[in-house]
């Protein structure tokens, strides 16, 4: 689960990490007033995807042009998500920019602290081309951050105020631990010309698996559903997983690995997926039916490819869900159904207007032929 920048910054402030003065706005008028209040400001689109800067979602504004800049940003749709909120923040006189993040490191099984003096610019590019400019240290989860690590990193970054830097990183790790984060990131962390260290941007990702014990995050989770694509939200509510793509074949599969295999085979056959829906293991008729409805509701979807391997999930159960839902829809369907009770399942689908395939490859081939 990803938080908005403004939500992350609120948590940052509660945990003692300084951020610029800022006002969250939902209308052009509010944004204009906010710029006036802050004098010189930056207007930042609040969307739950990356790359908003490149999409024109972060712009400077003066009191004179605030209204038109705000209108421009509110008019954007970034990776499918309309801009519904903007954060208006006071401009900062910046002396230096840094990159700081704490992220779960799969290879060691520990949180990893990463800092770089090359903040602000494209940090992924830095990682690829000049990885030595990123300084990394494992955090022993039992010991926590140690002062020698912070001292070393502050010196690497050329930060003189070691106390302020150490306190900020300790606070950031406190957030990481307290909220079951998988990522906390500040890019850029800035040193202002007046000598203060401030988080200019703020990112927090929460482990979805830990939401059951993070009450405050559950509330944000519910509130943020309005800012996500409706299919994704509906899928998550049913404990399924929906991902939007560019093509025209909608995929409904049980299991992430089989879903990826299905996408690959569509591509190999010359086709292009519109999205994919992982209904997870153990799904019942209701879940599978809902998956079909949600996936079909995406405007780009011209055909549904349903690929199910029934183990714990029973094929007759799946077939019933599909059968009942398809009655209400008018979309071509290719279906591959294998596993426990497969004959019963095929019987149920016999009357329906679906094309049956007997392997993932065959299903992909037929689907691609049908949409061409």
């Amino acid at each position: 689960m990803r938080l908005h920048e403004y939500q992350s910054k609120q948590i940052y402030r509660e945990y003692g990490i300084p951020t610029p003065d800022g006002i969250i706005c939902t209308t052009i008028n509010e944004a204009e007033q906010a710029v006036r209040q802050l004098h010189s400001a930056v207007i930042k689109a609040q969307v739950l995807v990356g790359g908003r800067g490149k999409a024109g979602g972060v712009l400077k504004a003066t009191q004179d042009n605030a209204s038109s800049i705000a209108a421009q940003i509110f008019g954007l749709t970034i990776k499918g998500l309309p801009v519904r909120k903007v954060l208006v923040e006071k401009s900062m006189a910046i002396a230096n920019e840094y990159y700081v993040a704490i992220v779960l490191d799969r290879s060691t099984g520990s949180p990893l602290l990463m800092v770089s003096a090359s903040g602000g610019v494209d940090i992924e590019e830095v990682a690829r081309t000049t990885p030595h400019l990123i300084c990394k240290r494992s955090i022993d989860p039992y010991m926590g951050l140690m002062s020698h690590q912070l001292l070393y990193m502050a010196k690497k970054l050329g930060i003189d105020d070691i106390t302020a830097f150490s306190k900020l990183i300790r606070n950031l790790y406190n957030i990481y631990e307290t909220f079951d984060c998988t990522l906390v990131e500040i890019n850029p962390l800035v040193l202002t010309q007046s000598g203060h260290i401030i988080a200019l941007d703020a990112k927090i990702n929460i482990d979805d698996n830990a939401l059951f014990r993070q009450k405050a995050m559950q509330e944000l989770y519910i509130r943020n559903q309005d800012d996500l694509e409706p299919q994704e939200v509906q899928a998550k509510k049913l404990d399924m997983s929906y991902v939007d793509m560019e093509g025209n074949i909608g995929c409904i599969v049980n299991g992430a690995g089989l879903a990826l295999a299905t996408l690959d085979m569509i591509s190999l056959a010359g086709g292009s997926p519109a999205n994919f829906m992982d209904v997870r293991g153990g799904a019942d008729a209701f879940h599978v039916g809902s998956a079909v409805s949600i996936t079909a509701s995406n405007p780009g979807t011209e055909l549904l490819l349903i690929n199910m391997f029934g183990g714990l999930t029973l094929c007759d159960e799946i077939a019933q869900g599909i059968h009942d839902t398809l009655k209400k829809l008018n979309i071509p369907v290719v279906i591959r159904l294998t596993g426990t009770n497969q004959e019963k399942g095929w019987d149920i689908l016999h009357g329906a207007n679906v094309t049956v395939a007997h392997s993932t490859s065959e299903a992909a081939r037929i689907a691609v032929e049908m949409v061409q």
């Binding site: 992220v103 799969r106 099984g109 992924e124 890019n187 690995g257 085979m265 596993g339």
Partner: protein, 287 residues
């Protein structure tokens, strides 16, 4: 022979009184797996599917022998269940539970590492040795006895591959689902090492996917230590990138988690990389 589980396996089911725990207990019993006891705190004394239930794993071991445990405990308590099995002296713990907070696994893994116990999973379909024992939730009907070792991060994709192999007359020694979570107890490398040492395994199928660097590490290992032929299948070539992980994920891995990169490294290590389950069969046939 085989790896990890066989006809001598004596299994405890942790979380036996839950819906899935009870159902899968029945299915495992049907497959001939020897289940000696179940464990659910404060449900001790019950009998489920003919299996006696205890409050704690230690109480089971005070009374009888058991070497393996399978966990169907809900996510909030699954990590403690792993600790419990390890502390009591169980040698193989198979954790089926999906949705364990990663922070809990951050605590589990060092504990496991310091002890003489192997963890499979979590969020995995378990282990099946056809004709030996089935410890997990893989459907029984897909398997046939043979000499191909299968190891996979996936669930249903594994079933599809095994099913395709069986239908083509290629049986399996053991099939291990290591699980899809970021932090897992047993890696490809661990499983590859076990298959290499298993006299009943003549070749290995390894099923991987985008994300992380487990397949690249496996490639390194295969080059160095695996003499048996390995066929690999990596999915996610056409998957959308960067939908979930921010910058930091790409920075750690140095951007090498793509399927194409994995395939390149595996082929560099002499691994035969298949493009579909049917292609795995083709490649196994010409070995």
């Amino acid at each position: 022979m085989s790896i990890l589980v066989n006809e001598k396996t004596r299994l405890i089911v942790q979380g036996i009184t839950g819906h899935v725990g009870t159902l899968e207990t029945r299915l495992m019993l049907n497959s001939g797996t020897e289940i000696v006891a179940g464990v659910t705190p404060k449900k001790g004394g019950k009998i489920i599917e003919g299996v006696p239930v205890y409050d704690t794993v230690q109480e089971v071991l005070d009374e009888m022998k058991a070497d393996t445990s399978i966990i169907f405990v809900p996510p909030a308590h699954a990590a403690e269940a792993i600790f419990e099995a390890a502390e009591a002296g169980i040698k193989l713990v198979v954790c089926i539970t999906e949705g364990i907070p990663v922070k809990d696994m951050v605590k589990v893994l060092p504990y496991i590492k310091d002890r003489d116990v192997r963890l499979i999973g979590p969020n995995c379909p378990g282990i099946t040795t056809p004709g030996g024992a089935r410890v997990g939730i893989m459907p029984d009907f897909i398997f046939s006895k043979g000499n191909v070792g299968v190891v996979s991060r996936s669930g249903t994709l594994t079933y599809e591959v095994v099913d395709t192999l069986s239908k083509a007359g290629i049986g399996q020694s053991t099939c291990v689902g290591i699980g899809g979570d970021p932090l897992i107890g047993t890696s490809f490398i661990d499983a590859l090492g076990m298959f290499e040492d298993d006299p009943d395994t003549s070749s290995i199928v390894m099923i991987g996917e985008i994300g992380g660097t487990a397949e690249q590490e496996a490639a390194e290992y295969i080059k160095e230590y695996v003499s048996k032929p390995v066929v690999s299948y990596i999915v996610g070539i056409s998957a959308p990138q960067g939908k979930t992980m921010g910058h930091a994920g790409a920075i750690i891995s140095g951007g090498v988690g793509s399927a194409r990169e994995k395939i390149r490294v595996l082929e560099g290590a002499g691994v035969s990389v298949a493009t579909s389950p049917e292609d795995i069969v083709e490649k196994e046939k010409i070995l």
